[in-house]
């Protein structure tokens, strides 16, 4: 009675094995698809690698931004012009005052970096334009960005990594990088010709990346913008020292509000809208879009700016990003830097947890 039954089972087992294999394969397929999406099957550049490299270069300072770590919080308002309203439907351009949180900073991952050696200065802004109309941006004082593509910025950060023993950058590596990257010429020329001003207040801040404004009629225009200081330029003195920018700015704001004009520069057909290393010709039309007024400033570790991510892709309806590849990379990298520092910040707020 047992014999024929066993033979029958043995024959069935083979096809059962086949079916189990099929089940395993069909289950592995979506698992593989997910692994591919997550980048586990390739070596593509990730936001985490960027932030790791920034930590290599600037050190890991718990709670601080992984780049532009040194800065101060500022606040005030933005008052748009009627001309801005004609170019974009964004709520930040509706008549009136829109409250602003901001942050002035210098680049680098070191929160105690030297002000007088900073290659440039920066401004992050969050303008309240109402629901679905918040505008965040992060601007630099350089005329152009140093490279056009995220992977090249990563390579530059690698070349800038200080020697673990001497703590200095390797001049040879940097020279080799710049030789391989002729697109850095415009940035380096700006750097060599530019004498920094003596204050955050009389520095100019530029979007560098391009964006698209959409008006009431649906017409789209590519443009870049700058915040042009209304405070007069004075060159940075040789003996300012490593720590003057924040104190200077707080002193000025205590005396009177500091103002910038938001100037839009409109692209012409054929201008390089996806390449932040290339400035547009100076004769391109500009539009005065309003005035930024900063009337308060304070230390970043207690200020409102500390826990804000000035992600340049948080845009109001009526403004959208161009195809500049730096923008998506910035958004992804800032988010990872934000998550790391906010997690550390939370631990510092609850040291016993």
């Amino acid at each position: 009675m047992k014999h024929p039954h066993t033979r029958h089972n043995a024959a069935g087992l083979r096809s059962r094995t086949g079916r189990f294999t099929l089940i395993a394969l069909l289950t592995a397929l979506p698992a593989l698809l997910f692994a591919w999406s997550a980048g586990w099957l390739s070596s593509r550049l990730s936001p985490q690698q960027f932030v790791d490299q920034l930590e290599q270069n600037g050190g890991r300072h718990a709670g601080f931004r992984r780049n532009h770590a040194k800065g101060l919080c500022v606040s005030g308002y933005f008052e748009p012009s009627a001309d801005a309203r004609r170019l974009s439907t964004a709520g930040v351009f509706a008549a009136g005052r829109h409250s602003v949180n901001g942050r002035l900073s210098i680049p680098g991952g070191n929160p105690y970096g030297a002000d007088d050696k900073a290659p440039l200065r920066s401004l992050g802004l969050q303008i309240d334009g109402g629901s679905a109309h918040e505008w965040r941006m992060a601007l630099n004082s350089s005329a152009v960005f140093v490279v056009a593509r995220p992977e090249d910025f990563y390579a530059l950060l690698q070349a800038q990594q200080p020697d673990p023993v001497s703590g200095r950058r390797d001049k040879e590596k940097l020279r080799a990088f710049f030789n391989r990257h002729p697109e850095t010429a415009a940035f380096r020329q700006w750097q060599s010709q530019h004498t920094p001003s003596d204050s955050f207040a009389n520095s100019r801040y530029n979007s560098l990346n391009s964006f698209v404004f959409t008006d009431n009629a649906g017409t789209e225009r590519y443009l870049r913008w700058s915040l042009i200081p209304q405070q007069a330029y004075q060159p940075q003195a040789a003996d300012n020292g490593a720590d003057f920018l924040a104190a200077d700015f707080r002193r000025r704001v205590a005396q009177q509000p500091q103002r910038w004009t938001l100037q839009l520069q409109l692209a012409a057909d054929g201008d390089p809208v996806n390449d932040a290393t290339r400035a547009w010709p100076a004769e391109r039309p500009t539009v005065n879009a309003g005035t930024l007024v900063i009337n308060a400033a304070g230390p970043q570790q207690q200020g409102a700016c500390r826990d804000i991510n000035f992600d340049p892709l948080i845009l109001p309806a009526g403004i959208r990003p161009s195809g500049d590849p730096l923008l998506a990379a910035r958004s992804a990298v800032y988010s990872d830097s934000f998550t790391r520092r906010i997690t550390e910040q939370a631990t510092q707020e609850h040291p016993h947890d």
Binding site: T27, S37, S46, I314, A329, A332, Q345, A346
Partner: protein
């Protein structure tokens, strides 16, 4: 045993199977890439996730109001329990995961824009402590959902290819017999 789920459950099941799996891949891709796709993937992740939340609630309501085909009576008790528990977990995660995503953005002080002029209000106050909890929670819950879906798929195929008991048919198109 050739009974079927309500047609609306079946339609939603397959639409959402695709959408939920796509969301897992979209989420994993957008946080691991600096390419241009990061922007549009992020723009898709939020509205699609909120749509899944809406559909999951609708589906749960239909589920509670209709009669289910029921599992084959000859299925071992433990397997029946596991099947029921896994379905409850799948429903829970389809509802909890979007809520945690929404709460993560709120705690981080980010605006949640679904499209154009449509912004959802924050679920909770901006909070570093909550962001530090919710951001990793969203990831680990998503990974749990992925594993659960893979097991669920394997189980469905087990029913179809090994047991051949009509359980897969109960989720497929076709008129209910009897």
């Amino acid at each position: 045993m050739t009974d079927h789920f309500h047609w609306l459950i079946r339609t939603l099941h397959w639409l959402m199977a695709i959408a939920v799996f796509a969301m897992l891949c979209i989420g994993a891709a957008m946080v691991s890439s600096v390419a241009g796709s990061h922007s549009w993937l992020t723009g898709l992740h939020r509205p699609l996730g909120m749509l899944i939340l809406l559909l999951a609630l609708l589906r749960l309501a239909v589920r509670l109001m209709t009669r289910q085909p029921g599992l084959p009576p000859d299925m071992p008790r433990l397997q029946q329990r596991a099947a029921q528990a896994s379905h409850i977990l799948l429903y829970s995660l389809m509802i909890v995961l979007p809520l945690v995503g929404w709460a993560t953005l709120s705690a981080g002080g980010y605006p949640l824009i679904l499209a154009g002029e449509v912004q959802l209000p924050p679920l909770l106050e901006k909070s570093n402590t909550l962001y530090a909890l919710l951001r990793p929670a969203h990831r680990w819950l998503a990974y749990a959902l992925l594993l659960l879906i893979l097991a669920h798929l394997a189980a469905a195929l087990f029913h179809a290819l090994i047991r051949q008991d009509g359980v897969l048919q109960s989720m497929l198109p076709g008129r209910a017999k009897k």
